[in-house]
């Protein structure tokens, strides 16, 4: 057991620090600092900067454009990214479909898709859930019927985050009704420009357009866009869920949120003092910080296991549960810190080019939307109830 960094590691940390300090665009950092949404062109701008440095995909193998860093370096990199106000990685390309393609894809698929994921040029979205298939994902009904060298896809997908911004989607479709539900599912990559695809906005409780309902009507998808074998899609989807851990643990994002919470509570006043001097509030902040620390060390243990060649199984659900609960606690404490200034809800304040004075403190406007949207975190990616079922069954053998 050892937590110490070698001199090389420490030098690496300084290298990452000075790189980010120099290259992170100030306007993007300011948006992140205030918790405002970072839009697609800004995320792409930052992604391009990381790509030019060779750091676009820390977790990918070197041969596909990854860094080849060991677990310690990846940890250091994430840590430094969180120290600064860097935007959260959009998971769909870099953390989800990318690894799936280099693990199960054909050479042609790797060549076609991986480079543009690395540069951020092509954006991806996920097409899993359907109106009737949420927690029970394997019951999905969107049909793909082989017609010559194409699949013809018909059905409806929902909760597709960023589908309106995406160039491609990775989708689970039904290719067989025989045997177990899980054994008739295939995994397709679909160009969002294909005729017959119609994403419609679903406005969320924060008033923003994150989700979409996507209708597929006779959408023709070349067979070569199938990942792996027909009817084996469930296997790939399960692999992918395990691989999401880097994004679902949210350690870095939670550290940023904790920092923002402390800053806000430091500026808010209560009984003539800073709110951080209020014992009961400070205790709650300390409590969530302790939870985050334990969560971080759990994440590190898993990283080390994996680096030692012992892949993590269903235990990864622990990270999803704790990571999302911590995120919700942090966003909730942040709106609590604001007192009455949690109430003003003028969405225009969050848009680019808003230059009127803010209502109340400048950090206030972004926080309520963050809290409201954080309620989705325990629902998406397999609800926390489902994650607990997985642990009960797969880890504890109950």
């Amino acid at each position: 057991m050892d937590l110490a960094f070698s001199d090389d590691d420490l030098a690496f940390r300084e290298e990452v620090r000075s790189f980010i300090a120099e290259k992170l665009p100030a306007d993007i950092a300011e948006s992140v600092r205030q918790g405002r949404p970072v839009d697609k062109p800004d995320i792409q701008r930052w992604q391009r900067i990381l790509f030019n440095q060779g750091w676009a995909a820390p977790g990918w193998p070197v041969e596909y454009g990854g860094t080849g860093w060991d677990a310690t370096r990846r940890y250091i990199f994430d840590e430094v990214m969180a120290e600064f106000d860097t935007p959260e990685t959009v998971p769909f390309g870099l953390l989800m479909v990318g690894p799936l393609i280099y693990t199960f894809g054909t050479e042609a698929q790797k060549e076609r898709f991986l480079p543009k994921i690395l540069t951020g040029e092509e954006w991806w979205c996920q097409g899993y859930s359907e109106p009737g298939s949420g927690s029970d994902l394997a019951s999905l009904q969107t049909k793909a019927v082989l017609d010559g060298d194409h699949y013809v896809v018909n059905g409806t997908k929902t909760w597709n985050s960023m589908a309106h911004l995406a160039d491609w989607t990775f989708t689970l479709v039904r290719t067989s009704n025989e045997g177990k539900q899980q054994e008739g599912i295939s995994f397709l990559l679909i160009d969002m420009e294909t005729p017959g695809i119609d994403p419609q906005p679903i406005i969320a409780i924060d008033g923003a357009h994150h989700f979409n309902m996507t209708y597929y009507t006779d959408v023709r998808v070349p067979v070569e866009n199938r990942i792996g074998e027909e009817n084996k899609g469930w296997t790939y989807a399960k692999y992918l869920l395990g691989h999401e851990r880097q994004s679902i643990s949210e350690v870095g994002a939670s550290k940023q949120r904790l920092r923002r919470l402390k800053q806000i509570a430091g500026e808010e006043r209560s009984d003539g003092e800073s709110l951080m001097d209020d014992k009961s509030f400070a205790n709650k902040v300390a409590d969530v910080e302790v939870k985050l620390t334990s969560h971080e060390y759990l994440n590190l243990r898993f990283l080390a296991e994996e680096a030692a060649g012992r892949p993590i199984g269903a235990e990864v659900s622990l990270l999803k549960i704790r990571g999302t609960e911590i995120r919700q606690e942090l966003t909730e404490l942040t709106i609590e810190a604001l007192g009455y200034y949690a109430a003003p809800f003028e969405m225009e304040q969050l848009s680019d080019g808003w230059n009127e004075p803010s209502i109340g403190p400048d950090y206030a406007a972004a926080q309520m939307p963050q809290y409201l949207f954080s309620r989705a975190a325990t629902i998406y990616g397999g609800s926390n109830e489902i994650q607990r079922n997985i642990i009960a069954k797969m880890v504890l053998g109950l």
């Binding site: 019951s139 406005i203 969320a204 609590e336 209502i359 403190p361 809290y371 309620r375």
Partner: protein, 373 residues
């Protein structure tokens, strides 16, 4: 001991229920929230006609002379409908101040107008630094001939834009957090020296930032004695908002229960999963505890012992904060993705419950206050 409603109270409940059913379909509310003023003047006129605006006001000034329980009955149904008309600001709080602190002349002039729906009030108390302390007041009022001249900033003033007059807490003497030396003033909304920035709030209401620079104000109640007046009236407001919260929670509890029985996953309704059954039971328990505390505070709000009253108020607000949080969050969670949509009513109730916890001091504030009493 009796917790049942009288025949008259039951009739009131039925009548408010009908109003909510007829006027407060989620779609109608959505239109009101998006409209210019954020609510319906027609609804307001209807409330006047039905006697609801007069309900808590004294009979001698055109009111009906109802008590806390009548207001509770009405607010609970308003909560069920997520009603956005400024009843709390104008009648419960505005009327409350006039009744508790108004001079004979002020009552005679203003209460009948309030009861008839010809005038609306708002209450400006919060400031940037004040958080939930009503006595943390930096706005200044200086004697100016016969009257007073008010200067300073007030934040998140609910329904200020549509109020004819605004009741403002300002300091006539003392240091910025002293209980002594606060005076309440009536100011006209179109006063010289008053600028307002209006905006929507997350729970579908409207609020404003007020900037006062030499605004003419008339004292409401004893000069320097505003703290006690605020404690009394805000206590009544808390008792009323607890009832609104109970209405919100009941709707969420009922809808979520129904949803679990109809939503099928893994070949069975979600209601068959024990872990979700227990969650529903916990939600139900929270609703029942909240309702109990709501009855308690509304029965004790007239207590002569100020400490007893204050304890009842803070205890109820803590319970409502905790219950509202649990019921709101779990309703979203159990509805899954649907709970996250603007389209479904669940999220709107969740947002209102979130703000109800904040209003007049959140659970932490009232827990501390209770412990200090």
């Amino acid at each position: 001991m009796d917790f049942s409603l009288s025949e008259e109270q039951q009739l009131l409940k039925d009548s408010v229920q009908r109003f909510v059913r007829d006027e407060y379909e989620l779609e109608s509310r959505r239109k009101l929230v998006a409209s210019d003023i954020g609510y319906s003047e027609d609804n307001w006129a209807k409330m006047a006609e039905l006697g609801w605006l007069a309900l808590p006001l004294p009979e001698e000034y055109g009111g009906i002379g109802g008590g806390a329980v009548e207001t509770m009955v009405l607010m609970e149904e308003f909560g069920r409908g997520l009603v956005v008309e400024p009843y709390m600001s104008s009648i419960v709080i505005g009327g409350g101040f006039l009744m508790a602190g108004g001079s004979k002349e002020q009552k005679t002039e203003l209460l009948p107008k309030l009861a008839a729906g010809e005038m609306k009030l708002a209450f400006a108390y919060a400031e940037r630094q004040s958080r939930f302390d009503l006595n943390d007041v930096e706005c200044k009022a200086e004697k100016n001939g016969d009257g007073y001249s008010l200067s300073g900033h007030k934040g998140v003033v609910f329904h200020a834009a549509t109020a004819d007059k605004i009741i403002v807490s300002a300091r006539t003497s003392g240091g910025s957090r002293d209980a002594d030396g606060i005076t309440l003033f009536l100011i006209d909304n179109n006063s010289a020296g008053l600028s307002r920035r209006d905006y929507p709030t997350v729970d579908g209401l409207r609020a404003s930032e007020l900037e006062m620079d030499g605004v003419a104000g008339t004292p409401l109640g004893e000069v320097g004695g505003g703290a006690a007046l605020m404690e009394e009236v805000v206590g009544q407001a808390i008792a009323a908002i607890c009832a609104e919260a109970v209405g919100c929670m009941d709707v969420l509890q009922e809808t979520t229960n129904e949803y679990l029985k109809t939503r099928v996953q893994f070949g069975v309704p979600l209601s068959k999963f024990q872990v979700l059954q227990h969650r529903m039971v916990d939600m139900f328990m929270e609703c029942e505890q909240a309702r109990s505390m709501c009855y308690m505070v509304n029965l004790k709000i007239g207590d002569e012992d100020a400490t007893e009253r204050a304890k009842a108020v803070s205890a109820a607000k803590v319970q409502i904060g905790n219950s509202g949080r649990y019921v709101g969050q779990q309703s979203v969670q159990l509805h899954g993705g649907m709970g996250m949509t603007d389209e479904l009513h669940v999220g709107h109730y969740f947002k209102r419950l979130t703000m109800i916890d904040t209003m007049f001091g959140n659970k932490d504030h009232h827990l501390k206050r209770y412990a200090d009493l």
